[in-house]
Symmetry: C2
Subunit: 201 residues, 2 copies
């Protein structure tokens, strides 16, 4: 800390604090992406950020809370999905959402950290709870809010089940022919299913 503070001498204190927080968050994102939830420690994050563990606790709290902050950053590209639906005609939400989903997953820059989060969520209960909160509050409830239907949340979740299941079999388990299939072919097959879940009878 002393070195970083010295380098930034003369800058307003609040700005310095924001820099340190960002620096820790970047380190946390990299540590969780590389090692997963279980094998990452606050001490390891502090070491990667070049700060004392106490400072990580000061800015974020527990390991679970650092994870939540890191997941929110990693998950940010996916959180634009409800906006992608904002101007979609009702018959088009299935294709918009499916196309948006594979846009995020087909891009290695967004896929790699997402994969790490999903893997952590699937192998650790605390990580699963963080993922569940974020997925529900930031994504599914907002998508459900755009559907004017009484069972909108269940609809959004069943649509998510089709997309998430496909991501897992294609990018994690790498089942063939699914793993090598053209993304457009998959989008063409899944868009009507997602549409059916969201707006069907």
């Amino acid at each position: 800390m002393t070195g970083a503070t010295a380098r930034r001498r003369g800058r307003p204190r609040r700005e310095e604090a924001a820099d340190t927080r960002d620096h820790i968050l970047t380190a946390a994102r990299e540590e969780f992406s590389e090692h997963g939830y279980e094998k990452t420690s606050v001490r390891g994050i502090a070491k990667a950020a070049g700060v004392d563990s106490a400072l990580v606790h000061h800015y974020f709290g527990t390991k679970e809370q650092v994870f939540e902050a890191a997941v929110a950053v990693i998950f940010a590209p996916a959180l634009n999905a409800p906006d992608a639906l904002a101007d979609a005609p009702p018959d088009d939400v299935g294709e918009r959402l499916t196309r948006f989903f594979f846009g995020v997953w087909e891009n290695p820059a967004t896929r790699t950290p997402l994969l790490a989060i999903v893997r952590s969520a699937l192998s650790n209960d605390t990580a699963a709870a963080v993922f569940r909160r974020l997925l529900a509050s930031q994504l599914l409830r907002r998508i459900a809010g755009r559907l004017d239907l009484p069972d909108a949340e269940l609809r959004a979740e069943l649509a998510a089940a089709q997309l998430v299941g496909c991501a897992i079999l294609r990018y994690v388990i790498r089942l063939e022919p699914l793993a090598s299939a053209d993304a457009e072919q998959i989008i063409a097959r899944l868009a009507p299913v997602v549409q059916g879940h969201l707006t069907g009878p």
Copy 2:
């Protein structure tokens, strides 16, 4: 080993060997179910079975091969799915498969070890490869074989994506309202989707 051998004195050698193999396999199934692929060791399996590690290697080979044998046992109830379709009219395969799938997952006795395998497969590449081989050769290819369509394997995989995704969001991530929804309600929603993937246009 000496104790076990002594207790079984007088029994044919081949039968003894089969017993020892079964005994190791049971221990392996329990160790992998409880600790997952990464945290289970051949030494731990040997200890749980009360035998020497060398004997585990003798009967099964590497840790990956013990895992494959254990997964095949755990996965056995799921492998009856293609038979459940054997006498189904073509318009009924979606519901039959969906109902079969949730029958296995709603039963805690079959769900608990399956969950452990799925979690291992999603967090470790070697475990993922074992799961992929078994899923492809024992389940999806056999289901695809019942569909007389050129893209039958991709169809079976997209149907599996809907079911597996739902299992993950319901039983692992435990998203609400999906996690508490009545199984019959979910089957009613997913059966037509699965039918569409398998036999639709």
